[in-house]
Symmetry: D2
Subunit: 147 residues, 4 copies
């Protein structure tokens, strides 16, 4: 049995997250923090900076999406099977503002065959929901961790 | 008749785009260029930089979304009625890479009452389609241009 | 205080469901059963008949959608505010077959201002998930129950 | 070269449609008519009957979805590769009423590898748009036509 096969599901999810984090410039560059990861789950946070906002201080939807999309990626890649996003949707519920700290919490809704569905709630520092995101994933060939 | 009421639909769309551009730090900061705007339409481009990619040089989905979302915003705000995104979905068709120049072309599918539907195709410099985005908008109170 | 205002949230949800049921030919005609309703929640079931299937005995997606859509309608109309579907999406997870009894369970994800998000899981008699549905609602003028 | 391989794309699309039609009880049972088919395209119509409506004569969303879903199925199965729906979304634009004749027109937005995107516009007899549907398909093993 390899070292990887001997890992618990939680330890495997954490090892996958470390591997992804190291190679993901974009997530780091946006100042995201990985708060938690578990099989099928991930929580990330990000501060809304001036560069992410328009002249009225409202966060561009692309950055809210990016935070949710990163949480989705960490959640669906927690089984050491390389998994990609196929289709994502986001509903904006309330605006986010410069200085807000947003948290995206991803949970697994369904995983069957190669397909998965993950829901990500984005909230602000008051616990108010900013957006609801649903991601559809598909596993592709390859593992995240070296054999 | 005010100056604004005397504008042609095309001139009004251009005036709205200038107004939005000036106040949209996020779009400018991402290095987007506004190539064209018309009533219900907008075309923007963006280069994929190293900060937008992971260690393998593949663009984070959040940046592809952000480009399409900006094209959506310029298209649905071209009538001088303040209009916001409610719900957006994106399907990833092919990966984008560091150094690619992506173009997002938004067209209006439907506009009725306060609701609108806009489709945005994202292509690379070879004309290959990278993503297909659909945005649902809703008009809110207020105009973009000062009376 | 009117009779309606004196109802508990649960009693109000039940009264709304009765009112909707009586006027909804389509839901009755499809042989649906209303199993439970509560504020923001509803559970309906439906048997897959021969008329709903193709030559291989697989249920047409439209009927799976219709069951989920009815559960969505009962859930979002449980507050005595007339509420309509704006945008719905469905992901097919496993096929349903002639003779299956499908159950759709709707829960509220978000309700803010006039907009709501509801998730509906459709399962078969074995508890296997057949589809996952997400509905976006909007309240319109009017109540369901007579004053 | 087999008989099938000798068919033009248009003749192949028509042969696939005949094969699907014969085995699709559900589509026939709903009274749908197949008006046209071509590679990646299909047009179907359906009359809104009393059984499809609520007490106010408004068509249940499930039947509007079913019509669009059938047009999607005929369009994405026009290449003699068995293809299934994965994820569909629908936006309701205007209500349909008892006695309306609805037409669903499907066109191909993207087809790459095993995945496809199809847009279906549903209009009434006045040409007014009732709904806009987007379907995501995936090819599976097998052909529609016998060798």
């Amino acid at each position: 049995m390899s070292v990887i096969e001997s890992l618990s599901p939680q330890a495997l999810a954490e090892a996958c997250a470390r591997s992804m984090w190291d190679e993901d410039n974009a997530t780091r560059y946006l100042g995201m923090k990985l708060l938690a990861v578990a099989p099928g789950e991930a929580t990330l946070s990000m501060a809304v900076t001036e560069a992410m906002t328009n002249g009225h201080g409202t966060c561009h939807g692309g950055y809210i999406f990016a935070l949710a999309d990163s949480a989705f990626a960490f959640a669906c890649n927690s089984y050491n099977q390389r998994t990609v996003a196929q289709h994502c949707s986001v509903t904006y519920i309330a605006p986010a503002f410069r200085g807000d700290r947003l948290t995206a919490t991803a949970r697994e809704v369904s995983r069957r065959g190669r397909g998965g569905i993950y829901d990500i709630a984005v909230t602000n520092q008051e616990g108010e929901q900013i957006a609801e995101f649903r991601g559809h994933s598909r596993t592709v060939k390859g593992a995240l961790l070296p054999e």
